[in-house]
Amino acid sequence: MVYMRKTLSVFFLIIIFLLFVPYDGQSDGSPRLFIYDPTSPWQNMVSLRDQFEGFLMLRIPDVIVQPYSDFEKFVQDVHRQKPDLIIIFSFHYFYLMKEINLKPLSIATKNGKPFKSCAIVTNSRGESIASYRDGYIAMLNFGKLTSHFLSVLFFTPNGLKDESFSIIKTSKDIDSLFALSEGQVDLALATMDQFRHISKYSPWVVEGMRVISSVEVPNIILCQTLPNRNSTSLNVLIKAIKNMGANGSEILNRFGYDGWGTVDNGVFDIYTNTKNEGIP
């Protein structure tokens, strides 16, 4: 009986220990690539993961690719699981690098350009953003940085405050533009690529819409988390991503790009007109 009690006690202590030990994602040695790009026109995360992973598995059989649509979950997993590489939209990179040691490796390009255009469009008469004060604006969900993006790139330069607008977050640009066309919001923020895309295939939706403000923002960044833990497979992985062949170009096209370029020092200048204290 005493023996049994002792066994039970030891057993439970072990179990309780096991239950409360936080899960360490690093126990799995597979190289990991995490992706967060809210500006990507491609919505289907599962299909994106399967295709990207299928492509990379030809080089590194146990690679894990994990795309995210939720920024907060992405940040949480980056902290907990420490992926080897991440692909992230430049604006989020700019804020995340204050918290995590990241080494930028490449920037995505389209037609050789490392920037894309983001524009605020409207279909009513107001000439400037200020004329829509107290109105609704629909834009992509950038997580905690949603209003910050507007503030840094559109409001502050125009002397406006965050509180001047009610932001409605959407998962894709087409929703923001549909909402504007139906009069549910006063303004919509969208990438110009998507605006052109919709103009081509559903011109009646964007009929009467015009751009009242636009900025050029850097594209997605491929970066490495430091310190690195998988030097051999990491180099193969980086090489595979940077030199995507015919199959790989299709994947990159899904993000809206066609190649990778070098990250120049001045590429983030557009974001530096505000104080970066990390993710708010």
């Binding site: 039970l8 179990i15 609704y136 929703d175 559903s202």
Partner: protein, 999 residues
């Protein structure tokens, strides 16, 4: 301490001020929701967004019970609210909106709702977001997906006429703007029955059917879905969830609930900034974001390719579609209005499927067998600790013990431990020495069970020998979490202990599972009035068992699967009454077994090939004390002793090919080959006369006998089986043919000792009226004698048919199952068995050496089982069954048996379960002087508490609550008061569980 407190208060005050300043919100925002709804993903998504809002610190969460028939408790919760201190109320769902209106509408506090079906609820202070995106948005999506579709069909009723008008206006606008020439072709219906003819007319003239949320239309979805594929017309369904695409619709367009959450925040912020301003919220807003879900399989079947430019707007694609005939569509007006028209209408859960009845996946109601399926949730409900206790609640099953204390079952009037087949994931567990499982059942850890599929009736047409009166297939779990760990430990009466561990891990293609259990009990001190020697005393039902199960699963991307599994069981049984029916027996028996099984499932287009290879081993080791010290003569200082041991091994291969001729006709072919051998068999004792001349013989030490316990032997078995399953797809309104299916199967088994045996089966499933399933079945089964019975035959210990033929059973059975209401699900089944060559222990000599009786005549038995179960209001649930058997040779078998379980949950985390077990009177043989055994009513109670939700659980069981004295019958007549059973038994179990990592 005071200093710390002061600093804390200052910090708190500062923090509050800062928040109030930062949010510019002084007043609170009430967030009303129904607790139960919060389990749904869409409610969670919306509330997650709200919790990220700038006013999250001012958000007061008010969970509601959501009981429409009694709103008082929910209204009471709002009594404490000071209206002046509330800036807005957010109501998530129908009932919270009603409550918000009752409590706040007259006080001019703005109420913002969402997830509410009826948009007319909005007026002065009440505004909200309606359920579906605008018709313009829906049309734009449709145009992007199917740019060439010019003729849009819609079926509607009076209730949805308004929607059709809106769609018509949208089409008109779009035609004007885009110059396209889209036509809306509509058909009006006023009953569900009118939908099929309306569809028939429409389908001649349309390119796509726009599934508006109409009750009649959704009720007819299964037949529309199937026929739409035949006619190559896609279904486009704007709805509230992706479920309709999971059911096979080509497209489902639902709101993006993250955006709805964001819209709510924007509207609340806007109201708070300027309470007089209601811009864009004068009445009803529409959801801005959308999620487009497509069913890839349906699109494939329809030969539709989505244009490249539209592929990027797809949020998710679903690769499969269920068999449309299995979809239940029992919606009511109320469910439609309650926003549930996709969630509640289409009940098709994975748990409705079984694999045992036809060796393929099929809906339980269509399975050609009388089945009971015990799901994982039921295990929690039954509060059983062992598999034997679970099986005891199955209608027609009754667990008793024999003189050795081993669990045996009385099933449909037949008492045996080896006349039913037990499998884990379709791997057969029955050993060859005894043919059954003797004590292995309780070493199977319950933590590994996903469900138990139990066939009451013959199963030889599918599984060959031993599937005589029943088949029990334990289907193991596949938890969805990346990693899951569960541990349990329990202590109870009679020095009982239990330790269990479960772990599973999921990687991309790999899955692993381990489950283990250790159980030990000294057993109750049970009083025996008079043993075979006429002595009185007591005995204990002492048991120790260990079970370990492991499984590794590999799933390739092309749906192939390879699984390696293994199970180890070690059971030790200390003395009970004993082999010689004498108390003071010191006999111990040890059963060990293990198996390793490799199974591969390969998808070949629509067809499937299964290959299996396995090795099973069973070790038997018994140390007998047949008579106590000093018996039968004083020379036996240690008693009359014997030792028996033997091992058996079984290696086999199995193959099965499932050929889907088309959606309606399925052929299954297969074969099995296995070799069994008994080896390392020996016997020792201190009393065999042949050893007496040995000068060293002393009646104390054990000497190896000339004959082994069982002569070493082997057997070769091979078999082939085939089955035809025809389940036509009927698209008309006649229920009779809607559920119709036909099955016919035949299995051939060859055993090199007994020759061949043919097991045919036939069955038909019908639906004479809506929601009623009728099964009419016939089957033949057999059981070959086991090594122990073969030994008896060789020793001349078989009476009746001394050649010992395999026993055979012919069964005719019928079942009626009515599945309409959640609160009452009745079923009734009837069986008639004719057993030929029945093998039973010879009642005239049950003492060693054991003799068997092989009856050459027929034994006829018949009976019925009636069952009802359901869920009542307040989450109460119940289960009641009653079984009856009559016919030949039913001595000591209860004619009646009944089980009743009633579950009372309270406060969402506590559960009280009352279990009543009635065993009817048992009649003895005419020449048995002891008189009949009275009926008994046992009452059991258990209590479960979720101490930490989904992490820590406490369970307390009290079995035989009123310490009722009852017995298992003794057929030998040597134990005057039969085998006494355990009295009141209290057991406490703590369960810890955690999961981590997302898949």
């Amino acid at each position: 301490m005071k200093t710390f407190l002061a600093i804390f208060i200052v910090l708190l005050a500062f923090n509050s001020c800062w928040f109030a300043h930062a949010n510019m919100i002084d007043k609170q925002v009430l967030f009303l929701f129904t607790q139960k709804n919060m389990e749904q993903a869409k409610y969670k998504q919306i509330s997650n967004e709200l919790l990220k809002s700038s006013f999250s610190s001012k958000l007061s969460l008010v969970p509601m019970t959501g009981n429409l028939s009694n709103l008082d408790p929910d209204l009471q919760k709002l009594k404490w609210v000071t209206p002046n201190n509330v800036s807005a109320v957010i109501a998530l769902g129908e009932v919270p909106l009603i409550i918000a209106q009752l409590a706040f509408e007259k006080l001019s506090i703005p109420i913002i709702f969402t997830l509410v079906y009826d948009p007319h609820a909005a007026h002065d202070n009440v505004c909200g977001i309606r359920l579906l995106p605008t018709e313009d948005t829906q049309l734009n999506y449709l145009k992007l997906l199917l740019p060439d579709a010019k003729r849009l069909g819609v079926i509607y009723s009076d209730v949805t006429a308004e929607l059709v008008e809106k769609i018509s206006n949208s089409i008109e606008d779009l035609n004007k703007k885009s110059g396209s020439k889209i036509n809306l072709i509509s058909e009006k219906v006023s009953t569900t029955e009118e939908v099929w003819p309306a569809w028939y007319r429409l389908s001649q003239n349309i390119d796509v059917l726009w599934m508006i949320p109409d009750l009649y239309l959704y009720q007819s979805f299964p037949i529309l879905q199937k026929d739409s594929i035949n006619k190559k017309i896609p279904l486009f369904a704007p709805t509230t969830s992706e479920k309709i695409a999971q059911m096979g619709a080509a497209f489902a367009l639902s709101p993006d609930y993250m955006t709805i959450g964001s819209q709510l925040i924007a509207y609340v912020e806007s109201l708070i900034r300027d309470s007089k301003k209601r811009k864009n919220l004068d009445c009803i807003a529409t959801p801005i974001g959308t999620s487009l879900i497509v069913n890839k399989k349906t699109l494939n079947d329809l030969n539709i390719e989505i244009p490249k430019n539209a592929q990027q707007i797809i949020s998710k694609d679903i690769p499969t579609a269920p068999d449309i005939r299995d979809i239940r569509y029992d919606a009511t007006e109320q469910t439609i209005k309650g926003l549930m028209f996709t969630e509640a209408v289409f009940q098709i859960e994975e748990s409705f499927y079984v694999v045992t009845a036809s060796r393929k996946r099929e809906h339980v109601q269509h399975a050609p067998a009388i089945m009971t399926v015990i799901y994982r949730n039921d295990l929690q409900f039954q509060q059983a600790r062992t598999l034997t206790q679970i099986l005891n609640t199955v209608p027609g099953f009754n667990a008793v013990i024999d003189h050795l204390g081993d669990d045996i079952f009385e099933i449909r009037g037949t008492r045996a431990f080896n006349k039913f087949l037990v499998m884990i994931d379709s791997h057969k567990l029955n050993n060859q020495i005894f043919g059954g499982l003797r004590y292995v059942l309780d070493s199977i850890p319950l933590s590994l069970i996903e469900r138990i599929e139990i066939i009451r009736g013959p199963g030889s047409a599918m599984y060959g020998a031993n599937a005589f009166i029943g088949v029990i297939n334990i289907i193991t779990r596949n938890p969805p979490e990346k990693h899951r760990l569960e541990a349990e430990g329990g202590v109870g009466s009679f020095e009982s202990y239990q330790l269990g561990l479960f772990h599973s891990s999921n990687f991309d293609n790999w899955r692993g599972l381990f489950s283990g259990i250790y159980r030990s009990t000294e057993g109750d001190e049970l009083k025996v009035n008079s043993d075979a020697e006429g002595l009185s005393g007591s005995t204990k039902d002492d048991r120790n068992t260990v079970g370990l199960f492991g499984k590794i699963d590999y799933n390739s991307k092309n749906r192939n699967n390879i699984k390696v599994s293994g199970f180890y069981s070690d059971s030790q049984r200390d003395p009970y009454i004993g082999q010689a029916f004498v108390l003071n027996d010191r006999t111990t028996r040890n059963y060990q077994s293990y198996y390793i099984d490799v199974e591969g499932n390969f998808a070949l287009n629509k067809h499937n090939l299964m290959l299996r290879g396995y090795i099973d081993q069973f070790f038997y080791d018994a140390d007998w004390q047949l008579e106590p010290e000093g018996w039968p003569v004083e020379d036996f200082i240690k008693g009359q002793l014997a030792e028996d041991e033997a091992k058996d091994i079984k290696t086999g291969l199995e193959a099965q090919f499932n050929y889907m001729a088309n959606d309606e006709l399925n052929f299954l072919f297969g074969g099995e080959f296995y070799y069994t051998a008994l080896y390392d068999s020996e016997s020792k004792d201190n009393f065999t006369p042949s050893a007496i001349p040995n000068p060293l013989f002393n009646f104390i030490d054990l000497y190896k006998t000339d004959d082994p316990w069982i002569e070493e032997t082997d057997q070769l078995n091979y078999s082939g089986f085939g089955q035809l399953h025809y389940r036509p797809f009927y698209t008309g309104p006649n229920y009779f043919f809607d559920k119709f299916s036909l099955i016919a199967g035949l299995r051939f088994d060859y055993n090199d000792r007994y020759g061949d045996f043919w097991s045919p089966r036939a069955g038909i499933v019908l639906g004479p009226i809506n929601n009623l399933f009728v099964k009419l079945l016939y089957g033949k089964a057999f059981r070959s004698p086991n090594f122990n019975e073969i030994k008896a035959k060789k020793q001349g210990d078989v009476v009746g048919n001394i050649d010992l033929s395999p026993e055979e059973i012919d069964t005719v059975e019928a079942e009626l199952l009515f599945d309409k209401w959640k609160w009452l699900k009745p079923s009734f089944n009837f069986f008639y068995n004719r057993i030929n060559d029945l093998i039973v222990p010879d009642p005239d000599r049950l003492t060693p050496p054991r003799r068997f009786l092989n009856l050459s005549g027929n034994v006829d038995r018949y009976g019925f089982v009636s069952e009802i179960r359901g869920n009542l209001p307040l989450n109460l649930s119940y289960y009641f069954n009653i079984s009856y058997v009559n016919g030949d040779m039913l001595d000591l078998i209860p004619r009646w048996k009944s089980n009743f379980l009633f579950g009372i949950p309270f406060k969402d985390r506590f559960n009280l379960i009352y279990y009543l077990n009635y065993i009817g009177e048992r009649k003895r043989a005419i020449d048995d002087y002891r008189g009949n055994i009275d009926s008994v009513l046992l009452q059991n109670l258990s209590f479960t508490a979720d101490i930490i939700k989904d992490r820590l659980k406490l369970r307390i069981y009290i079995r035989n609550l009123f310490n009722k004295e009852y017995v298992s019958p003794d057929p030998s007549g040597l134990i005057f008061n039969d085998y006494p059973m355990t009295g009141r038994y209290i057991y406490g179990l703590i369960q810890l569980q955690t999961s981590f990592g997302s898949k």
